[in-house]
Amino acid sequence: MNKIAATAVLLTLLAAGTPALADEKLVLIVSADSNITQLDSLQLRKLFLGLTVTQNGNRLWPVLNETDARVKEIFLQNIVSMSDITYDRSLLRLTLIQGQRRPTAYGDIALLLKAVAADPSAVSYVWSKDVARDPRLRILRVLWHD
C-alpha cells in the first residue's frame, strides 16, 4: 500500500515538473496578417535548415523557439530530424558556404510571439496553450502532440 502511495506521489511530482502535459500540442504558427497557407514537412525542414522557401512570391523566415528544452527536443526530432550538434553544424556550414543567415532564436515566449505577430513572413512553433485565443497569431497545423 505504501509502495502504491509513494509511486502515486512520485508520478504527481513528475507531472507537475514537466512543462508538456498529457494533452499538450506543439503547433506551427504565423502572423494573423500572413498569407501563408500551409507548409509540408519538406518545406518546413528546408526553411529551418536555412534554405530558401517562398510562398506567393514572398520569402519565409524561420524563428526558432528556445524557450524550453522540451520544445527544442521535439523540434530537432520532428522538424529537422537531426541531433543538436548536427543541426548547429548545418547552420554553420550554410553561413560558411554562402554567408547565409541563421534562423533568429528567442528564449522568451512573449518576445517570440510579438516578433512572429509583427512579421507576415515569419514561421515558428509553440505550445498550443501559448497561443490560445491570441488574435495576433494563426495556427497552421499541429506538429506534435503527446
Binding site: 519538406l42 525542414r45 528546408k46 535548415l49 534554405l51 530558401t52 522557401v53 517562398t54 520569402r59 523566415w61 550538434i85 548547429d88 553544424r89 548545418s90 554553420l92 556550414r93 553561413t95 560558411l96 558556404i97 554562402q98 554567408g99 547565409q100 543567415r101 541563421r102 533568429t104 509583427a118 512579421d119 513572413s121 515569419a122
Partner: protein
C-alpha cells in the same frame, strides 16, 4: 576593375557596411550573419619533415554576410600571423529560389574539398587538407580562387533528391616561378590573368541532406606574370584541363569523402604535353562521447614526372609536394563549437619521406 589605391578603400567601405549590417539588421526583410572560425595548431615532424607555411600555427577565418530580399553580399577574410587576405567576396542575386548568380571572387566549384570546407577549419573533421586541394599560397597546384561570375543552382529531382549545378567563369590565377597568384581584391596585382571556366554537376539523394556525388570540370589558362619567364616549363603559359569525380556520403555514423582528378597540362612552345592523376579517400566514423576517428589515403600517378608540378617544389625543402600520404586521427568535440584533433601522417614527397604529428584546437565563434 578600379586601380588598386581606389579599389582597396571601396572594398573596405563595402566590408564595413556589411559588418555593420551584420550586427544591426534583424528586421523582417534584411538580415546579417557574422561568424569567426579560429584554429591553433602544434606540429612535430620527423624524417626531415619541414614545418611548412601551409599550416600557420594560428588562424582566424571571418565570414560576414548580408541578405536583403533576393540580394546577398558576403565576404571571407582569413588572418594568419603571415597574411591577411580577402579570400572570397561575392555579391549575389537569387533570381529563382535556390538559384543564385554571384559576382566577385569565389572558390572554384570544381574543387570537391574546398567548396565544402572553405577556410573554416572547425567544420573540417581532420587538420590537414589533401595536397591536391591546397590553396594557391600553400603550394597548391590547381587554381582555387577565380574572380568573375558564378552560377549556383539546386533543384528537386524525384521525391526527395536534388541536382546541384555550379558553373563559374572569370580570371584565373597568374603563374609565377614558384606559385599560382590569384587575382587579389585588396593588394596590388601585377599578374596577367587568363580566362578560367569551371563547373560541377552533383546528385543529392536528399534535397536537404549532406550527401552528394558528382562530376567536376575545370579549364584554366595560366599566364606567366609580367616580366617573368618560366625556363623550367620552356613556356610562358600553361593550359590546365581538369576532369574529376567526387563522393561525399554519410550513412549513420559513417562518412566517406573521396575525389579523383585527371589533370592535363598543355604547354606553349613545346610539343609534349603532360598529364597526371591525383586522388584521395577519407573515411570517418563517429563514436560515443562526441569522438570521431578518421583515416585518409592520398595517392597520385605521374606527378613526379611533371615539369608543371616541379615548378611548385621549393629547392630549399621548406615546401614539399606530396605524392602519397596516409593520415590517421581522432577528433573530440569536447564543448559546444570547440574541438580538439590529433592527426598522424606519413608523407612521400618528391624528394623525401617524412612523418608528422599535429594537434589542433578549433572553434566557431559565437
Amino acid at each position: 576593375m578600379p586601380h588598386p589605391p581606389v579599389r582597396t578603400p571601396l572594398l573596405c567601405l563595402a566590408l564595413t557596411l556589411l559588418w555593420a549590417n551584420s550586427a544591426l539588421a534583424q528586421h523582417e526583410h534584411s538580415s546579417g550573419e557574422f561568424e569567426v572560425f579560429v584554429a591553433a595548431e602544434a606540429f612535430h615532424g620527423s624524417g626531415a619533415a619541414p614545418r611548412d607555411d601551409a599550416d600557420p600555427w594560428v588562424n582566424a577565418d571571418v565570414v560576414a554576410g548580408l541578405t536583403e530580399h533576393q540580394f546577398r553580399v558576403f565576404g571571407e577574410l582569413l588572418a594568419t600571423p603571415d597574411e591577411v587576405d580577402l579570400e572570397r567576396f561575392q555579391m549575389g542575386w537569387e533570381f529563382v529560389p535556390e538559384t543564385v548568380l554571384w559576382l566577385g571572387r569565389f572558390h572554384e566549384p570544381a574543387s570537391a574539398w574546398n567548396t565544402e570546407h572553405h577556410h573554416g577549419q572547425y567544420l573540417q573533421t581532420d587538420i590537414t587538407r589533401p595536397y591536391i586541394e591546397r590553396w594557391e599560397d600553400e603550394q597548391g597546384i590547381i587554381p582555387q580562387h577565380i574572380t568573375g561570375a558564378l552560377l549556383e543552382s539546386r533543384q528537386s529531382i524525384g521525391k526527395d533528391g536534388a541536382i546541384q549545378l555550379s558553373g563559374g567563369f572569370g580570371a584565373a590565377p597568374a603563374l609565377t616561378n614558384t606559385s599560382l597568384e590569384p587575382f587579389s581584391l585588396i593588394r596590388s596585382d601585377p599578374g596577367r590573368h587568363g580566362p578560367s571556366i569551371t563547373g560541377r554537376l552533383a546528385y543529392l539523394p536528399e534535397y536537404v541532406g549532406a550527401s552528394s556525388v558528382g562530376l567536376l570540370f575545370g579549364h584554366h589558362d595560366l599566364q606567366a606574370s609580367y616580366g617573368l619567364a618560366l625556363p623550367a616549363l620552356h613556356s610562358n603559359h600553361a593550359n590546365l584541363t581538369i576532369y574529376g569525380a567526387y563522393i561525399d556520403w554519410t550513412v549513420g555514423p559513417w562518412r566517406v569523402v573521396g575525389a579523383n582528378y585527371y589533370v592535363d597540362v598543355a604547354l606553349a612552345r613545346t610539343t609534349r604535353d603532360e598529364s597526371f592523376i591525383s586522388g584521395y579517400l577519407q573515411v570517418e566514423r563517429q563514436l560515443p562521447r562526441r569522438l570521431t576517428v578518421f583515416s585518409r589515403w592520398e595517392d597520385s600517378a605521374r606527378m613526379q614526372e611533371s615539369r608543371y608540378v616541379a615548378l611548385f617544389d621549393h629547392e630549399d625543402g621548406n615546401l614539399e609536394i606530396a605524392l602519397r600520404r596516409q593520415a590517421l586521427g581522432v577528433r573530440w568535440d569536447y564543448a559546444r563549437r570547440q574541438a580538439l584533433t590529433l592527426e598522424l601522417s606519413h608523407i612521400v614527397s618528391l624528394h623525401q619521406q617524412s612523418n608528422e604529428v599535429r594537434v589542433q584546437w578549433s572553434a566557431a565563434i559565437p
